[in-house]
């Protein structure tokens, strides 16, 4: 009986397999016909003019329906109901239907051939982006044919950065900061070493630049404010909090070797000297064990309640709400940025900010029904006008320009933002519709950042340095090097914590030695090779030497 079933089962399986193979073989016909699509004509609608954005010229009367897929579950899919999107809808005569989802949904969209007109993804390193030339339309061609004004509003560096092997650029990101942006000084720093003002005054405003000064300051804090934790840092989670690359930037560890190759900043002597210092501070009882275990929420609670005397804080805008809460409740005790730990070998800080890769990247797909309209959306949103609209709304209606030339929300709008965030979001939605949004637009207004972090941003002026050459240099996903790198990064994160928590110097050294040994055993040389190569390409793209 059993045997018979086994035989039958086998036959059945084979038959089923055959059926499956036949069906899947037939399935993929007719999906790949669009690769050589000619851009459709706009004759009769308008003649292009390099000096005027095409959306002002386009005489198409019927409303264009666009579908726009955003690969983020949190995206608010409303369109045309709030002030910002209503204006976009009117000006461009379009109606956008947003679809949102995660990577799973994105895969099904590609597999099912249900491509939208526009598509936004959040990871510029993902395979979808790397293969954009197979499914998206090149922005260069679209601009030439439909809207040359696009070239005026798109940043050249950003376009070059995202160029694929065929010399064309397919996607345009938001929050992409170019060298010009850095040079203009309009991008505020987001990292700072902060101390509570009352604590700083109580211990006599010492300098805490050298390891010795740092250690003794922490001891003094401990003595005078026993209920506080002398030193804190961003929650570690699965990464390094603010003790990894953030600290490295803070003390200005070099980004490359002298001959322009990849430099393992984790093993920099200057940096290691500071880690040793932190270890001693830990052994003195001035770093809490909780700090290593706290998640983001727990860390934020401590910020909110002013538990830490000093912090190496990364992402000050994200913490501005919490800092503001503490500041409002405790006048005169607010956190202020001071110079803090400095390089033991005389390097200047090289603080990082969002790089040229930016954040979300948007594409116009080959299935776009009206590519002319789609590129007009890009031009519109990237223009001065669009940027102001997305961040501040409409002049006279939501904001005015004050004597100093800065944008100011009208009082009732400001009030709404502070006291009725829900209504503000629902009816105005300013600062939220941020495809093509940009850091530099924050500089247009004094209201863009909370009071609590303005001093920190002021402190950071002139201390930033672009990290462009280090962007997107990891080995391609799926390669053995990429797998090794993941393991190495994890090992580094745990090594860092064990080093700081070492009971004595010997344990510190052995943790470090174990990390070094792990590098050797896991393809590190190959990874360095890949990274150096990619750094070279980055420099070429940006015209750096």
């Amino acid at each position: 009986m059993n045997k018979a079933f086994g035989k039958k089962g086998l036959k059945l399986c084979t038959a089923l397999m055959a059926v499956v193979l036949v069906f899947t073989g037939c399935g993929s016909k007719g999906n790949s016909d669009s690769s050589s699509k000619e851009l459709s004509s706009i004759e009769g609608r308008y003649t292009i003019d390099p000096e005027t954005p095409a959306w002002k010229l386009d005489k198409k009367e019927e409303t264009t329906d666009l579908t726009w897929y955003v690969n983020a579950d949190w995206w608010n899919t409303d369109f045309g109901k709030d002030l910002v999107t209503k204006k976009i809808k009117e000006d461009l005569n379009i109606n956008i239907k947003f679809i949102k989802g995660d990577d799973t949904k994105l895969n099904t969209i590609f597999a099912g051939g249900e491509m939208p007109d526009l598509l936004t993804v959040l990871d510029s390193n993902s395979p979808v982006v790397q293969k954009a030339s197979t499914w998206a339309l090149p922005l260069n061609d679209l601009a030439d044919k439909y809207d040359p004004y696009f070239n005026k509003v798109a940043a050249k560096d950003t376009m070059n950065w995202f160029q694929l092997a065929d010399g064309k650029t397919y996607g345009y990101p938001n929050y992409s900061n170019t060298q010009n942006d850095y040079d203009s000084g309009n991008i505020p720093a987001k990292t700072a070493f902060v101390i509570r003002k009352d604590v700083y005054e109580a211990i006599g405003k010492p300098t805490i630049g050298t390891p010795e000064e740092f250690k003794s300051a922490m001891q003094q804090i401990k003595k005078e404010f026993p209920e506080m934790i002398p030193f804190g840092f961003n929650s570690i989670g699965k990464g390094t909090g603010s003790l990894g690359d953030v600290l490295q930037d803070f003390i200005g560890v070099p980004m490359e070797t002298e001959n322009g190759e990849f430099y393992n900043r984790n093993l920099d002597e200057d940096y290691l000297a500071w880690l040793k210092t932190l270890n001693e501070v830990y052994r003195n009882g001035d770093i809490s064990d909780d700090s290593f275990a706290d998640d983001g929420t727990a860390f934020e609670e401590k910020v909110k309640s002013g538990k830490y005397a000093t912090m190496l804080l990364d992402g000050t805008p994200q913490q501005s709400g919490n800092l503001q809460i503490f500041m409002t409740a405790n006048p005169g005790k607010e956190y202020i940025a001071i110079d803090g730990p400095q390089s033991t070998v005389g390097h200047e800080p090289t603080l990082n900010q969002s790089g040229i890769t930016g954040w979300m990247i948007s594409f116009i797909t080959k299935k776009a029904k009206d590519p002319a309209k789609a590129i007009q959306v890009y031009t519109y949103l990237l223009s001065e006008e669009g940027q102001k609209l997305m961040n501040y709304g409409i002049e006279g209606e939501t904001y005015k320009v004050n004597e100093a030339g800065k944008i100011e929300f009208l009082p009732e709008i400001k009030d709404l933002q502070l006291n009725n965030a829900d209504k503000f979001k629902k009816e105005y939605r300013m600062g939220e519709f941020m495809f093509f949004g940009h850091d530099r637009d924050k500089a247009l207004s004094n209201d863009a950042f909370a009071e609590s972090i303005k001093q920190m941003q002021e402190w950071g002026k002139g201390k930033m340095k672009p990290h462009f050459i280090l962007e997107n240099i990891n080995p391609a996903q799926g390669t053995p090097e990429a797998r090794s790198l993941t393991a190495i990064d994890t090992t580094w994160n745990t090594s860092l914590v064990s080093m700081i928590r070492s009971k004595d110097d010997a344990t510190f050294d052995s943790s470090l030695a174990a990390y070094k040994a792990f590098l050797n055993d896991n393809n590190w040389d190959k990874i360095v090779e890949v990274r150096s190569e990619k750094m070279k390409n980055n420099k070429e793209k940006l015209g750096l030497k």
């Binding site: 079933f5 949190w74 249900e114 501005s320 502070l418």
Partner: protein
């Protein structure tokens, strides 16, 4: 004689006492966190951020629930959830019962083949993308029926029902046939009433599954009007998270926190199941028991 009775009495008393103590401990372990979720969801964001309470909230507030119910489409989502659960469960149970009834008959032709095919589907599935393509070609994308039709059949449930039906004596069916009943009548009037416990068990399993499912929506539905409660709440949670992330220059008042909204969401989604459970529970127990003992 008396002594042994007393001894047995003592024995069982000790046994019962230990049992009761253990069960009490278990209950406390289960109930306290649940209770904490409920009272935490009824606390203001500030109190929640400060933490430190277990049994009673420090600062009573309905703000978290207000944040969830603020979305006016949530009512519609509730209706979609109820409709999909209700229709889904009834059709699923009926469909599986029909197949189970058929497969429980030894005289049916090709029975072994069907059973083998069913078993294979238990181990191998088509995978996400082929399934998506199938659903797409069936025209079920963005249709309410995507909640019902693909969920009609579950071989696992068919096996349970099939075994149940087999336990119904053949003589019962024969006598009904002699009295002139057809297959439908036998199925509806004899087998279904006799198998209520099994049906209720499957209905409960499937109902909980339908109520909690949001993957189907995530993959196949883009029309917001068809979002069930789970998807809507999932959305509210991710949005409250990003709101915290985007906290730039915004207000310093915290009425809700991500955690608070999440907790309120947990209470809202779990409540209907908690209410339904005691009602179906007696069927559930007898259903499990009947499946376990074979005469």
């Amino acid at each position: 004689m008396n002594r042994t009775v007393a001894k047995e009495d003592l024995d069982s008393r000790i046994f019962n006492t230990i049992n009761i103590i253990l069960l009490c401990i278990c209950t406390v372990i289960i109930v306290v966190p649940l209770w904490n979720v409920v009272i935490s969801s009824l606390s203001s964001g500030k109190a929640l951020a400060e933490g430190g309470f277990i049994f009673w909230s420090k600062d009573f507030s309905l703000e978290n629930y207000r944040a969830v119910f603020n979305d006016e489409t949530i009512g519609l989502a509730f209706l979609v959830s109820i409709a999909k659960t209700f229709i889904g469960v009834i059709t699923h149970v009926f469909f599986c019962a029909m197949i189970g009834y058929g497969l429980s008959k030894k005289y049916i032709r090709g029975r072994k083949l069907y059973v083998a095919m069913g078993v294979i589907t238990m181990f191998f599935s088509g995978g996400m993308i082929p399934t998506y393509l199938l659903i797409k070609s069936l025209g079920l994308l963005n249709s309410f029926w995507v909640y019902i039709i693909p969920a009609l059949f579950s071989y696992y449930d068919v096996v349970i029902l099939m075994n149940f039906f087999r336990n119904v004596p053949d003589s019962l069916e024969e006598s009904a046939k002699i009295d002139g009943a057809g297959d439908w009548r036998i199925f509806l009037k004899i087998f279904i009433p006799l198998s209520m416990p099994a049906m209720a068990t499957i209905a409960l399993f499937n109902g909980v599954g339908q109520w909690n499912d949001f993957m189907t929506t995530k993959l196949y539905i883009t029309d917001q009007a068809l979002y069930p409660l789970q998807m809507k709440l999932y959305e509210i949670i991710v949005q409250s998270q990003t709101q915290a992330m985007q906290n730039v220059g915004g207000s310093a008042i915290i009425e809700t926190t991500t955690k608070g909204v999440q907790l309120a969401t947990i209470v809202i989604t779990t409540l209907p199941i908690v209410v339904m459970y005691p009602i179906l529970q007696r069927y559930f127990i007898s259903g499990m028991m009947m499946g376990a003992v074979k005469e």
